[in-house]
């Protein structure tokens, strides 16, 4: 993977007002810690050598979900041109975790940052065919202009942070 998509990804995220935080599997815990506002919820992360701290509730009740300040999930891949992360929810709960918390922290492997929508759709299509039931191309926080001015944070999160896992 060349460095170019990562640089583009970072600048696209910057345009969206989304912070990109770089880390490695070894440093993951210490990188994540300051990003977590309590109470935090999460869905299990699929990356080797990476796990969520115990303070992050991975089996939340509805009330805990609703009250969550931070929700941590993996993202299947990133799309550099757009600054998007693809959240592939499933039985383990990434969908509600990424939707209800005030801030969504999405963890994506640097090797999964794709350059553009063309590449993303090749992968999205392959995933659909191998049984992935939902892929959300999420770009920045939820937003609405329906109340007379642009507001970040409509039904979904009002902030997004992307954690880029290098060397994974």
């Amino acid at each position: 993977m060349s460095a170019e998509p990562i640089a583009t990804f970072e600048s696209s995220l910057d345009d969206l007002g989304v912070d990109l935080v770089r880390t490695t599997a070894d440093e993951f815990a210490s990188t994540l810690e300051p990003l977590l506002d309590a109470p935090a919820v999460g869905a299990p992360l699929p990356f080797e050598g990476v796990s969520l701290p115990e303070t992050v509730e991975t089996d939340p009740t509805v009330a805990e979900l609703d009250a969550a300040a931070t929700g941590v999930t993996a993202a299947g891949y990133g799309i550099a041109d757009y600054g998007s992360v693809v959240v592939q929810g499933g039985a383990e709960g990434a969908e509600p975790v990424s939707l209800y918390a005030d801030e969504h922290v999405a963890v994506v492997a640097a090797s999964d940052v794709l350059p553009d929508m063309d590449a993303a759709f090749d992968r999205l299509a392959a995933d659909v065919r191998s049984g992935t039931r939902q892929s959300i191309v999420a770009t920045g926080p939820s937003a609405t202009a329906d109340m007379g001015a642009l507001v970040q944070g409509a039904h979904g999160p009002m902030d997004v942070t992307v954690v880029l896992l290098e060397g994974a």
Partner: protein, 726 residues
Amino acid sequence: MSADRRRKAERIRHLLDTEGDAVHENTQVFNEGRYESTGDLDDYEELKAEARTIKEDAIERLPELIDDVTAAVEANGGTVYLADDAEDANRYVRKVVDGRSVVKSKSMTSEEIDVNESLEGSGAEVWETDLAEFVLQVADEAPSHIVAPAIHKSREEIATLFNEVFEPEEPLETAEELTRFAREYLGEKILDAEVGMTGANFVTADSGTLALVTSEGNARKCVQATDTHVAVAGVEKLVPTVEDLQPFVELIGRSGTGQDITSYVSLLTPPVDSPTFGDDGLEPGDDREFHLVLIDNGRMAMREDDQLRETLYCIRCSACANSCANFQHVGGHAFGGETYSGGIATGWEAGVHGQESAAEFNDLCTGCSRCVNQCPVNIDIPWINTVVRDRINRGNDGDLDFLVEGLTPDDEPGGIDPQKRLFGNFDTLAKLGSTFAPVSNWVGRTDTARALLERTLGVDSRRDLPEFERESLVAWFERRGPRVSREAASREVALYPDAYTNYVRTERGKAAVRVLEALDVRVDVPAAGESGRAPLSQGMVATARSNAESVFDALAPTLAADHDVVVIEPSDLAMFHREYERLLPEDDYTALRDRSYELMEYVYGLLENGAGVDALPDGDGERVAYHSHCQQRTLDLEPYTVAVLEDCGFDVATSEVECCGMAGSFGYKSEYYDLSVDVGETLAEQFEADGNADRTVVASGTSCLEQLDALLTRRPAHPVRLLDRE
């Protein structure tokens, strides 16, 4: 004015007063955003062409794709129901919902079938969770825009509404407060709901995947929080494969709200398996039910209709609404039918609700063509409006025909509205006006004549009528003859005498002849008649075709001699370049298109190819405000006028509006006068602003000149007048 025209005029005035400001402000943001966001795409045109090809193929193969998606959804564990019409769809949805509570995300197709009413009638509770739809549900109003349904409401109005209805402890005021309140209020409804209803922007036939293009996150919640998912979608939403979604995903947000991409593009292949909300908390979502309700409701008939078929390619992005000057000013409550609004709505309403629904607003499309290049699937929206107008004309029973008989040697049936017939036959009218000038001009100014015109034909008496010249441009030229000999000529051209230049604004025709001659061009002015633009704008397609054929016959010798055709009036050049494709045999169309040029474009070409700019007057820094013409801009011909004027030493500022609002006959019609002036004032304000107020005003189009003349104290002229030494 007839009762019907009066009712229409009052309604438009009311909407301009109550909704016009909010609509204008909000559509402006979308419109500017679209220009900026699509401008960032290197391959914008390629993506549009790709999207168009996918849609053409999908609609061509629609029956096969319906079979494919049915098999795919069933294999995934869901159900597909193909509903013939709204009632059929509603019956099925009522059965699935079975009185349970429903939360919905935004879906225009669900508006089309009035599913909320149907469900509430069966005892189910239904909540719209899209914030704009929620506002409308609380206000009990209909959408005024297909993407931003409450675009006609200001923040203040929404705050007042919420404070009255919900009586919060602290009155709500800011957009943030209103949004938080709605999120919490609807959050409880989502938690309690058992059925989640969504639409679909696209459905892939190969996998049964829905693509939902949203920003608020409510569609995701509606699906995740419930254990039954019902998606309603028109059959035209099918595309063959998941890969086919890519160009649409890149185009739809940019074309609609001017965002590169919306916050969420959800690709759901339902039934999805995210944990759902049960009675006691999160429960596994593997028992979720999924029903895809595919709706025909007239679409399969549209598919068989050679003129309406293109409508089915529409991805409902709203670019045609946002780029439309009339829409920007009056909004979708006037510029819309039972469900859909904006330019393409004519096709949708005619197809799904019937011609009467389209007839209500179809005239608000003036054919300015600003939407044409904005449509992400290259639909010729003005043409659809023209065809439906023609069909409406043919479906009417007229009772005032005698008033315009004799003035109207057209090819139209008896039932057509006499107002349309009058304007559609402008050429005949102008010929008579010119023959009897100046008497015709004096008569035309009398109160009696104006009152009669207004009462019987709806020609607004607040508009000055055109002043006809006794000597037409063609007659003047016949008398005068060409002034550049064949031997001395660098090129030979026919200057096309459009009806306005020929009978009304002959001075710009004479200036054009002299300017071309100054650049060593031998000019002829053949007696070619009206281009067909006037009848076409009234939906009189047969008359337009017959005019087009006559014009071609008159210009054929010019083309045969390998000479060029130069056109002063941009709307007529647009006929030659766009609409003639549908009116003339293909060879005739391409021959004329390839050799016809807008006047200033031609002058630019002459200067680029060696003609000396010294032959033209020196602008010497004269400050000029230039308004190009809508159709001229669609053909991308605005820059030539600017370049020529700058080459000649003028200091040029240009307008930034989609259209002047006059649009041929539109601004003369009493039911549309107020809207026309409202649109025109935006242009006038730009030319009255600091830095422009002292500039000489020039405009390429006849209509634009009429409008500017009415709204400014400075008298505007065609830019060629600045280059004329006389």
